[in-house]
């Protein structure tokens, strides 16, 4: 029962990502070519609502269903890892037109070829874990 609610949230997420067309390679290309407002509108609206909601959560010290005060864990301070890691991810995002969420939504939609992207993304994360200590962070 504890996990069912996350399954439902995931289903809603899959439907939203599909209907927003954010899972489409074409939409991501259109975004990186600055030729339509669609993706910027989606991400921008989510962030505007997000900023307002997070501010309200903090102000009212809202609690989750288990009674714990909701907080988003801050990321450690650094520039290099976010910039370089971000660039590497951005290369993959533009190439496949998918970030991790949309990869699996695409699999569900029926684009079986995305399974290859998913498997290699897992391998990519594994490789990062192996060489992590040798990289600047």
């Amino acid at each position: 029962m504890k996990l069912i609610k996350f399954l439902i949230a995931g289903i809603l997420f899959g439907v939203i990502m599909t209907k927003s067309e954010a899972i489409s390679w074409y939409r991501i290309q259109e975004m990186f070519r600055f030729q339509a407002f669609q993706m910027y509108g989606i991400i921008g609206t989510a962030v505007v609502f997000g900023i307002a909601g997070v501010a309200i959560i903090k102000k009212l010290k809202l609690k989750d269903v288990y009674g714990n005060t909701i907080k988003i864990n801050p990321k450690e301070k650094s520039i290099i890892r976010y910039l370089i890691g971000g660039i590497i991810f951005g290369l993959g995002w533009a190439l496949t037109g998918a970030c991790p969420g949309p990869i699996v939504v695409n699999i569900g939609y029926g684009f079986v070829a995305m399974t290859a992207v998913f498997v290699f993304a897992i391998i990519g994360t594994y490789l990062y874990g192996v060489v992590k200590d040798k990289l600047p962070h």
Binding site: K2, F6, L7, I8, A9, G10, F13, G14, T18, K19, S20, S24, R27, E30, R33, Q35, Q38, M39, G41, G44, T45, A46, V47, F49, G53, V65, N68, I70, I72, P74, R81, Y82, I84, G85, G86, I87, F89, G90, L91, G92, A94, T96, G97, A98, C99, P100, V105, G108, Y109, F111, A113, A116, V117, A121, I122, I123, G124, T125, Y126, L127
Partner: protein, 185 residues
Amino acid sequence: MIELIQQPWAWYVSGAAIAAIMFLLLFFGGSFGFSSNLRTICAACGAGNKTDFFKFDWKAQLWNLVFLLGAIIGGFIASQYLSTDAPVQISNNTINDLSKLGFAAPTGLQPTELFSWEALFTIKGFSILAIGGLLIGFGTRYAGGCTSGHAISGLSNLQWPSLIAVIGFFIGGLIMTFLIFPLIF
């Protein structure tokens, strides 16, 4: 009503709905960060035996794997019941640019040039998907998050690291689109 849902949703509806998912996860005691699942899957497969980065209580992240499973089901439900097979209405400028790279105008949600079975079983097609996957998996973990964790959650929390990461996402995306695409397509 069902016909309304079957149309592609307006950006403001989609954006608000994505923010709602983030809040739903926060109220459920989780958080909105999809790429963490890739690390969890590595740990669940036993990668922690050899590498410390994967040595953690991955079962505590089970909720996020269930969210991932839901996302797959959601994609299936959307394709079966909530979609028309109409092509994605991208701008004419994008169609023109992509045609110069050898991509036909959209006939559905995704280009068959990249995601059909035929494409998957060519060396070039498979390499594109494999290399893309490696870059995504490596880059998201190096950057500590992807679009959901940084661009949505992180920016909503006004975190500087997330803004740097998002700038990185765009630098990488622009390099791929404008410098590398002309070389490979």
